[in-house]
Amino acid sequence: MAMSGLQIYKLLPKTNCKDCGFPTCLAFAMKLAAKQVELDACPHVSDEAKEALSAASAPPIRLIKIGSGDHEFQVGNETVMFRHEKTFYNQPGLALRVKDTEDADAIAAKVAEVSNYCVERVGIDMTFNSIAIENASGEAGTFASAVGAVRGKTSLPFVLISDNADALKAALEKEGGHKSLVYAATTDNWETMADVAKAAGASLVVRSNDGLDELAELTGKIKDKGVENLVLDPGSRDLAGSLAQVTQLRRLALKKNFRALGYPIITFPGEVADSEEQEIVAATQYIAKYAGIIVLDHFDPAVAYPLLTLRLNIYTDPQKPISVDPGIYEFNNPTADSPLLTTTNFSLTYFSVAGELDGSGLPAWLLICEAEGMSVLTAWAAGKFDAETIAKAVKTFGAGDKLSHQKITLPGHVAVLSGELEEELPGWEIQVGPREAVDIPAYLKTWK
């Protein structure tokens, strides 16, 4: 059962040595109770305390690390059903699957494309995390040489897919020590699969096609054999069925503290679907709902970019909205004669305004002011978006140097700032724009 912070505190050394990184033992105990840290962070805890605490303090969904170096990613350790309750922490890893029956050049080309793919959004680089290699040939030798060949092209971790333990063993020798994931232990082969994963120090997927009872029984047995880094494949391959299963797994882990199913989940959108579009739909569902690893069967930048954007959106901390960097942003190749608008650095404000400016097709400059990530009215009410702030931003970012005119447009909601801003910016004409972003295109058309 979960313990409270105070119950945990009683078992800690109470020395406030800070070696765990927190200022006091009580602070550390509170973090343990919230399942946001691991007990290992305290080097001084006694063995008895460790035993008493480890059951209670382990995160309800085990943290699994896959990959090495710059390509390590971690999944699991989630604490809520809905992102508004706190946040989702660890973005699901995205993988592309290749098969060892495919032409070697075709595999090499796909692997190079996925490994090199990197797309930027709001200053964040977004990439795929893994290559899945399936032993479709059934041959151990073919599989091992395919794995070796792909390893020659990329240092991304692999999901190694086979029902043949010998093939996996041989493949793991060619894998190069990048902490890949082995797929999958089933009710027929779990003992040998556990041995293979244990020998290689790899994480292991446990799959059941017969529901959660069998899955829980299997994870228990495999854990008893000493393999604890597990990932679940609960078996469903249809949209509604898999939504039900991943929801049930998340609830069991978080609400019932059901250890046997407290692991991240792997999903295969391409197996849900018979078209690429339905694969996109399934991947969307899994990003929104509870997947830890998502193995795709198609790669196209026109699909990868939207899916990576969705992953970024869903895993944004709702309590700390991404704010955009203050500065001057360009829309539709503005010139010195184009209008200058201003607003705050709240990301949703920025995106609403940017969307309208972009969509209008008319050239404009947008000055983003530092307003602690608040929207226009909130920032104004809190004194974070006033004449002084705007004037400072105009000067800091050299707005005047970019323009042949000295005119700046305020959001309509803060028209009241016009007078003060005139005083702060002598020589400038202060104009009042629309209150809502949606009216910006019309405003730009008549702007003088």
Binding site: G220, G355, G359
Partner: protein, 322 residues
């Protein structure tokens, strides 16, 4: 040792209100059929836990005059029908729309403000061309919406249209028009649970029955605030299922409009090569936005691209299968 896992189920006490759009001749309208949304007793598509008696539906957006600002991808896909609202409505019905959404652009083809006579003529044209229930949106500015939607409400009395936007600024006028002429309203609030609830209360205080109110929580497209809409809809749905009677309205999301407004669905050139080809990118943008919002509680998704319509139809069928 065999393990028995007890599947955790929430004991929800609330039900989403059922709302019916459109009226047939028996009911004082001219629609060939009506469509009902809402009625759920659980979160989206969790069939192991509760009922989803009405599946989410697809609206297809058409406009009253040529949509000059639409993405070239959309204009190519629709072809000539975009010049003729009647032909466009027929085509949308053929493509499998459950409802037609007529958006009044605010200006006519010559750039003059749309008059109330033109708005009334447009709704009559569309009602004449299709037997489906119709949703009507004004240009989105409260004053213009008031003028045009009142004219539409009069011209289509008894049809049980859904009228919007109906916001805190103009709800009195829109609700009065809906009451006077037998329509529904779409209550719009800016991505905020409390404001959504407050507007429902205000509307209810004017004696419009809540089974004639849809909620528009304000749609943020993928990359443009989708996560805010996603979470507000989850919160509204949880509040509704927990028994809060003023959040139990079905939700409508203007997915097509928001998805296709963004640079990602419009720009073929001058963008990073990592963005991929424009047509597939734009369609995927709309598919992903629609799917994510269906998963968070959308009852009506209003779409623009014919390909997306097919994909979302298949998606809804898959999510309803059990």
């Amino acid at each position: 040792m065999p393990v028995t896992v007890e599947i955790p189920k929430e004991q929800w006490t609330g039900t989403i209100r059922e709302v019916t759009l459109g009226a047939t001749a028996d009911d004082g309208g001219t629609r060939s059929r009506t469509v009902t949304v809402g009625g759920q007793t659980t979160l989206p598509f969790l069939h192991f836990e509760g009922e989803t008696p009405n599946q989410p539906i697809i609206g297809i957006e058409i406009q009253d005059s040529y949509p000059a600002d639409w993405s070239p991808v959309l204009l190519e896909a629709w072809g000539d029908v975009v010049n003729d609202p009647a032909a466009w409505a027929k085509k949308a019905e053929e493509l499998g729309a459950d409802v037609i959404m007529l958006k009044l652009r605010g200006t006519d083809g010559d750039g003059n403000p749309t008059t109330s006579q033109q708005a009334a003529a447009s709704i009559k044209t569309v009602l004449g061309a299709t037997g489906l229930p119709v949703v009507v949106r004004g240009p989105g500015q409260a004053e213009a919406d008031n003028e045009l939607l009142v004219a539409v409400a009069e011209a289509a009395a008894g049809e049980k249209l859904a009228l919007g936007l109906c916001e805190d600024k103009n709800y009195r006028t829109i609700v009065a028009a809906a009451l006077a002429h037998g329509h529904l309203v779409m209550a719009s609030s800016p991505i905020d649970v409390n404001l959504a609830k407050q507007l429902n209360i205000l509307i209810s205080d004017m004696r419009l029955p809540l089974d004639r109110v849809l909620m528009d929580p304000t749609t943020g497209a993928l990359g443009y605030g989708l996560e805010y809409t996603f979470s507000v809809m989850e919160r509204l749905r949880i509040a509704a299922l927990t028994g809060d009677g003023m959040t139990q309205q079905p939700m409508i999301c203007f997915v097509g409009e928001e998805s296709w407004r963004q640079k990602e669905s419009r720009a073929a050139e001058g963008v990073p090569k990592e963005w991929g080809a424009i047509e597939k990118r734009g369609i995927t943008w709309e598919i992903v936005t629609a799917t994510a919002l269906l998963e968070s509680g959308a009852d009506i998704v209003v779409l623009r691209h014919p390909k997306t319509i097919d994909v979302v139809r298949e998606t809804i069928n898959s999510l309803m299968a059990h």
